[in-house]
């Protein structure tokens, strides 16, 4: 029959039943009246004699049989009513679930977007990156220009291969000149990725030839910001690096090459084939595998070509090989471990939350035994009861899950917004809550619901029904109590594991933060830029102009009040970017190709070390006399001195340096204390410093030490830069402290997130202990009351309750301690100078957890001592 029909029938049945029962009461009243009772008394006794009218009505209606829908609706209504009747329990459970499921969902959102979803390109599984591999180490190195050309010509594995190079681009016209991040790419780059431009076209081979007219593609964001999103930008000529470039296209929003930060402009690389063999190693590459070619085949192919080029150009390529890596791996390899570690930690939080809610439900189930037994006695089937209990836990789980989802949906963008701009999390722009995340959240909620719903439901079979109805039947069964105790031990153990992990990460971060960088970062302002001389007719003139521009800028800046020192370096320390090259002692024979040594190379202006606050150990800094045409000079750091001149004074000795323009061996004029260039967590490599005046670099970072607040000096310095070079834009203006902070942003975030998880876990475990001890005290009120009546000291009762709680906590702490000893080794690679079994961390965390457990026990223990024996005895 139709749904409406069925509802109407049931309504009518309800009405008739009501009338029938009313009639019965009326008849009974009439009978008693006939026997002599007054009307009111008769009615009262008639009703009382009937028993529980409401219950009888319910059970009678039950005899009609329910449809599945009505059963479900009934259970749902009942579950909601139960939740409303115990607000404290419901709140506690919902908060625990919202935190657990919310944090897990948030973490999954990030993991899904970064690690699981394929890259947003056409057939992304076929995209690979090709690196060169140096002779001495199995790492990936950027690629030499001629090698790239040879790979492109001779390979048999790729549809196409392209080279790319990140470089700041000076954008002029309409307002202040700015430097924006840009990318030089070879033709075919966009076709390899398979992304079509939003407007216009991409770079064609004709554009990628040396001497061809300049063209440029715009990033979507730049198009909106600087060109108002107008379609007439196509065909316009804009001035980049002093030269006109025609805008040929605009890329769609969200497009960027995943291993690099966002690029605003794309220009053709225009490789000069004649100059290619003499170039250094600079480029990254990307390639698309041919349809039936495997990664291994491609690697073998490229390695074979690398072997050929090693023969053809041994000075450059001897013993160098190549690596082919999937683009996805390349993108996520640095974050994968961190993300998985964080995801593992958050599942611990979820487990603790579930254990907590489980415990709460078990305690409530014990309290409702009488109700359950009555229902069974009145004819409710066992499955019906189980069904109803499961409904309750599902309602709880799903509500908690929805709250958690909301938390994640709001929280993830909020946290991402708080990250520094250059934070090394790849694909950050792609992180979003999507349907897969929703499904995950629902699955987790339902899983939780089953997990903590099943335990009390299973108790329905096992509890002996008759016990439930006796007056004294308030005690939990022994099995139930053991289960609750086990859950608390598990909770505390998991919390211990998590907090130890957090403690290790925190200690590691603090040690990292306190590491001596080798220089003084306070009150130091940095301006990063690519120096763009305007007119020059030869390479030599370009170099001369670069040197002159930098000298001019520094001279002007040094005259500013409030500036105590100023200098420049080509790549700032701690930015993750460094140059390296070969150098060797001039008084020893040159090492054969393939076994050269070297280290970092830094191009600096005079007065650099004084500006940075690094210690000069011997000799002098560069000065104005060290310019083009003067004898070539160099400064080395301690590590280089130890390596190349172990027991001698390096000052005055000469080094052969491979850094164009070649001016012959350089004389060492100074030795400086190590500066941690590549990262605070790594010791300094041997480093060679060359003067900007002799080896003028296009990349320049001005460093300015101020006497007051560095940010206040920005405007004045920019003015001086403009005065020296009106068309020069700066890319990034930052204090050195900010740069340093950004270099440890990842460990900071890891530590912060883990500490938050740890605090949540600690709170949940504390609440879990509190709830269990509280309940236990409540159950034993009579026993404790009798004890107190018999003269036991309240302090004894207090200690007894504390003992019970601390035993559970102690077992949990011990279990967590042991688990941590075994499991924290997976953190080892993320820790800096802290061993995974660090004693200080383990000891302090154990103490903290013991204190938290004590706090959780204390209130119920106090309550136990306040039990009034008289009240308890009276209840008997």
């Amino acid at each position: 029959m139709s749904f409406w029909h069925w509802i109407l029938r049931r309504r009518q049945g309800d009405r008739e039943l009501d009338e029938e029962l009313r009639f019965h009461i009326a008849e009974e009243t009439r009978l008693r009246q006939e026997r002599g009772q007054d009307r009111a008394g008769a009615e009262r006794s008639a009703r009382r004699d009937f028993g529980n009218l409401a219950l009888a009505r319910e059970v009678t209606r039950g005899m009609w049989g329910w449809s599945a829908v009505e059963r479900a609706a009934q259970d749902l209504r009942f579950a909601l009513r139960m939740m409303a009747k115990n607000p404290a329990f419901t709140c506690l459970a919902l908060v625990a679930l919202a935190l657990g499921i919310g944090a897990t969902t948030a973490m999954f959102t990030v993991v899904n977007s970064v690690l699981l979803r394929p890259l947003p390109f056409r057939d992304p599984g076929r995209l690979v990156v090709v690196w060169e591999r140096p002779p001495d180490a199995d790492r990936n190195n950027v690629v030499q220009t001629q090698n790239f050309l040879d790979w492109r010509k001779r390979n048999r594995s790729f549809d196409d291969i392209a080279a790319l190079f990140e470089i700041p681009m000076n954008l002029e016209g309409e307002g202040e000149p700015v430097q924006v991040p840009g990318m030089l790419v070879t033709a075919g780059f966009f076709e390899i990725l398979g992304t079509r431009p939003l407007l216009g076209r991409t770079i064609r081979p004709e554009d990628d030839v040396r001497g061809a007219p300049g063209v440029v593609l715009l990033d979507y964001g730049l198009w909106q910001r600087r060109f108002g999103g107008r379609a007439d930008v196509l065909g316009r000529k804009i001035v980049i690096q002093g030269g006109p470039h025609e805008v040929i296209g605009v890329m769609p929003p969200g497009f960027n090459f995943p291993t690099q930060a966002r690029a605003d402009l794309y220009r053709p690389m225009q490789i000069d084939p004649a100059a290619a063999p003499r170039d250094g190693r600079n480029y990254s590459t990307v390639a698309r595998l041919r349809p039936n070619v495997s990664l291994r085949d491609a690697q073998a192919d490229i390695r074979a070509i690398a072997a050929q080029t090693a023969q053809e150009r041994p000075e450059m390529n001897a013993k160098w090989s190549a690596n082919v890596v999937p683009l996805m791996d390349e993108t996520v390899k640095n974050s994968r471990q961190t993300l998985l570690m964080l995801f593992g930690s958050v599942t611990l939080v979820l487990l603790i939350a579930c254990a907590n809610v489980s415990n709460l439900l078990l305690m409530r189930a014990s309290a409702r035994r009488r109700e359950m037994t009555l229902r069974v006695a009145l004819g409710a089937g066992r499955w019906r009861l189980v069904h109803q209990l499961l409904t309750e836990s599902f309602v709880l789980a799903v509500t908690g899950g929805l709250l958690g989802l909301l938390l994640a949906w709001w929280g993830v963008p909020a946290i991402l917004g708080m990250l520094p701009a250059g934070f090394p999390l790849p694909r950050m722009g792609e992180i979003a809550v999507n349907s897969r995340v929703l499904i995950f959240a629902m699955a987790v909620s339902l899983g939780c619901g089953v997990f903590f719903g099943l335990l009390p439901a299973l108790q329905v079979d096992r509890s002996r029904m008759s016990e439930g109805l006796r007056q004294g039947g308030r005690y939990g069964s022994a099995g139930n109590q053991r289960l609750r105790g086990l859950l608390v031990v598990a909770e505390v153990g998991l919390a211990m594991l998590l907090v130890i992990g957090a403690g290790l990460m925190l200690r590691s971060f603090l040690l990292l933060h306190a590491t001596n960088s080798g220089f003084q970062p306070e009150r130091l302002l940095t301006f990063r830029m690519l120096v763009v001389p305007q007119q020059f007719s030869s390479f030599e003139e370009l170099l001369a102009r670069r040197a002159a521009m930098v000298r001019d800028m520094l001279d002007r800046i040094r005259t500013l009040p409030g500036v105590t020192a100023a200098s420049s370096v080509h790549l700032l320390p701690l930015t993750g970017m460094q140059s390296g090259s070969w150098f060797s002692r001039a008084d020893r024979p040159e090492p054969p190709p393939g076994s050269q040594e070297g280290g970092d190379v830094s191009i600096i202006s005079d007065d650099y070390f004084r500006t940075m606050g690094a210690r000069l150990l011997a000799g002098r800094e560069f000065n104005a006399r060290d310019r083009m045409g003067a004898p070539p000079v160099a400064i080395i750091n301690q590590a280089a001195a130890r390596h190349f001149f172990p027991d001698e004074n390096p000052i005055g000795k000469r080094l052969r340096v491979w850094w164009p323009p070649d001016q012959g061996p350089a004389e060492i004029v100074g030795v400086v204390a190590d500066v941690r260039n590549r990262g605070l967590d790594r010791n300094a490599d041997p480093c060679l410093f060359l003067p900007q005046g002799q080896k003028p670099s296009g990349f320049v970072a001005l460093v300015v030490r101020t006497s007051g607040n560095p940010l206040a000096a920005i405007a004045a310095v920019k003015q001086q830069i403009r005065a020296a070079a009106p068309h020069q834009g700066t890319q990034q203006i930052e204090t050195m402290e900010s740069v340093m902070g950004a270099s440890i942003a990842r460990p900071r975030l890891e530590a912060a997130i883990l500490v938050i998880f740890g605090l949540v876990a600690l709170t949940l475990a504390c609440v879990g202990i509190y709830a269990v001890i509280s309940y236990s005290v409540e159950q034993r009120t009579r026993e404790l009351g009798i004890r107190l009546a018999l003269g036991a000291a309240p302090i004894g009762v207090l200690l007894q309750v504390l003992h019970e709680g601390m035993t559970l906590a102690g077992a949990g702490i011990a279990a967590g301690f042991a688990a941590a000893l075994v499991l924290t080794r997976y953190l080892a690679s993320l820790l800096y100078s802290v061993r995974p079994t660090d004693a200080l961390v383990y000891a302090s965390v154990s103490a903290a957890l013991a204190l938290a457990a004590m706090a959780g026990c204390y209130v119920p223990a106090r309550r136990a001592t306040r039990v009034d024996p008289a009240v308890v005895l009276r209840e008997e």
Binding site: A56, V59, T60, S466, L469
Partner: protein, 115 residues
Amino acid sequence: MGSHEPYQNRIELLQGTLDMLILRTLQWGPQHGHGIGVAIRATSGDVLQVEHGSLYPALHRLRKEGWIESEWKMTENKQRARYYRLTAKGRKKLSAEESRWNAMVQAIARVMRPV
């Protein structure tokens, strides 16, 4: 009905026996719920006092099984009441229950009275 047996057993015995008593009572003619309770009590000489809370679930269950059917009629006092009446199926069920009951009574009697 005694009050010291374990509760569970009490329910089962009550269900089967109560069904039989109700069907027997209705054999004498249609009656409403209150009347059935009064009749059982009276006929048993005040020994069997049916709990009213169990009476109506039993009646509705019997009706669902098809052994009795119901009809709204007017009482002598001009009040509307639901009257129950045995069906043919119900008659068959009653005789089946009756034989079972007799068999059980004889078996118990044999145990109680040694040969």
